[in-house]
């Protein structure tokens, strides 16, 4: 994976996510996203 030069503060796997999915998952209301372990398997896979 090529390191993004114009981006900081994200682990490489996050920087590699499509922008659409990234922004959908960003907690705009400040509510921290649940950890994967807190999600059901279906919801976890859906969120991938």
């Amino acid at each position: 994976m090529v390191e993004a030069r114009a981006l900081r503060g994200l682990p490489p796997e996050e920087a590699g996510r499509p922008a659409e999915r990234f922004f959908e998952a960003l907690p705009w209301d400040g509510a921290a996203a649940p950890e994967p372990a807190e999600l059901s398997a279906g919801a976890f896979l859906e969120a991938l």
Binding site: A4, R5, G9, L26
Partner: protein, 362 residues
């Protein structure tokens, strides 16, 4: 309606006013030129004899033709000879002769240019209130130029339609967009004018100017992503999107952009701009001076996130800071952001915690 046609593309977009609108094809005739220019797909309005009457920005970029050389010309005979076929012009003539207002026909086609071929989805829509037919063009795939074509079949280039432009003081970019090469003092002059006329309102005006500019820049960014990668920006990896955006700004001499998503768990992220051309042009200032770029970023990230966002300049190089920093948050949390900004007094590092506290109170 076929999958991948402009209507289905438009309908994937949220309906909020400042997001790209979902426009049913038979409503396009009611849009202003500015609104047509903010659509991410090509729109051409033709008289029933095929004369070009409207030609939006996306089509201009994808076809690499300046609309000044296109408007008023025969579409099938001059602008796009590759469409003078039974499959395209034949359908157009049938719709012109027998189509009811609002009638439409959709089909797949290949546009042939001298810089490459494009697989497109076409929708022809008979206008309801005028004798015009709208041609909606959704680019599906970009290919190398086809060489086994009859003479004169591929669309002409900009320089063929308008020769000698370089001698007329016209500068063009890679998509034949007209460019200006201006000294950065233009921004200094603009700011001085704003300070003289209406210092309080000028930030609002330039912020909106930057927002509208950003919406047009989105069309350029999307055009390039489509051509180079056959993907929309939102489909690209986040890091790649930021690199493309940073390169876009740097190529215009506006400075070096970096996004810091470290605070994103609080619903906030920061954009850092080193060597802002706007900040450096205005000299020292007590207040941030990059309203134009804040508006520009608001348009671009609102497009990327499909969500209404706000952008505020936290600190500005014009105030003596080493760089300009902008905060991006959801519009519904604007009040919390503004209160937090007032508290941190230009310290971006303190902003996430202050924003979190203000939001929890709200």
């Amino acid at each position: 309606m076929q999958s991948g046609t402009p209507e289905s593309l438009a309908l994937t977009l949220p309906p909020e006013v400042e997001l790209a609108a979902a426009i049913p094809p038979d409503q396009l005739e009611h849009l202003s030129e500015a609104a047509l220019d903010q659509l991410p797909y090509g729109v051409i309005a033709l008289d029933l004899d095929g004369t070009v009457r409207r030609y939006n920005l996306a089509e201009s970029r994808f076809a690499r033709l300046d609309r000044r050389q296109v408007l008023g010309k025969p579409f099938f005979g001059v602008v796009a000879p590759c469409t003078a076929t039974p499959e395209f012009q034949g359908r157009f003539k049938l719709l012109a002769a027998t189509g009811e207002p609002g009638a439409s026909v959709a089909f797949a086609y290949i546009f042939d240019f001298k810089f490459g071929a494009q697989e497109v989805g076409i929708e022809l829509v008979r206008a309801r209130t005028s004798d015009q037919i709208f041609v909606l063009v959704n680019r599906n795939k970009f290919m190398a130029m086809r060489h086994d074509l009859p003479e004169g079949f591929a669309a002409p280039t900009q320089s063929e339609l308008a020769s000698g432009e370089a001698q007329q003081g016209v500068i063009r970019g890679p998509h034949q967009e007209r460019l200006l090469t201006l000294p950065a003092q233009v921004f200094e002059a603009l700011r001085v004018a704003g300070d003289r006329l209406s210092p309080d309102a000028f930030g609002l005006v330039t912020g909106e100017w930057g927002f509208q500019w950003g919406r047009l820049a989105v069309v350029d960014l999307e055009t390039r992503a489509s051509e180079e990668l056959d993907l929309a920006l939102r489909e690209l990896p986040m890091g790649q999107v930021m690199d493309r955006l940073a390169a876009h700004l740097a190529a215009q001499g506006l400075g070096q952009l970096t996004a810091d998503f470290g605070p994103s768990k609080d619903g906030l992220f920061l954009l850092e701009l080193e060597r802002s051309a706007l900040a450096e042009a205005v000299g020292l200032s007590e207040t941030p001076r990059c309203d134009l770029l804040a508006g520009h970023f608001r348009a671009i990230f609102t497009h990327l996130a499909h969500k209404l966002l706000v952008v505020r300049e936290v600190c500005c190089a014009a105030q003596g800071y080493d760089r300009c920093v902008f905060a991006v948050a959801a519009r519904e949390r604007l009040e919390s952001l503004d209160t937090a900004l007032a508290r941190v007094e230009g310290d971006p590092a303190a902003l996430p915690a202050a924003f979190r506290e203000e939001a929890s109170r709200g």
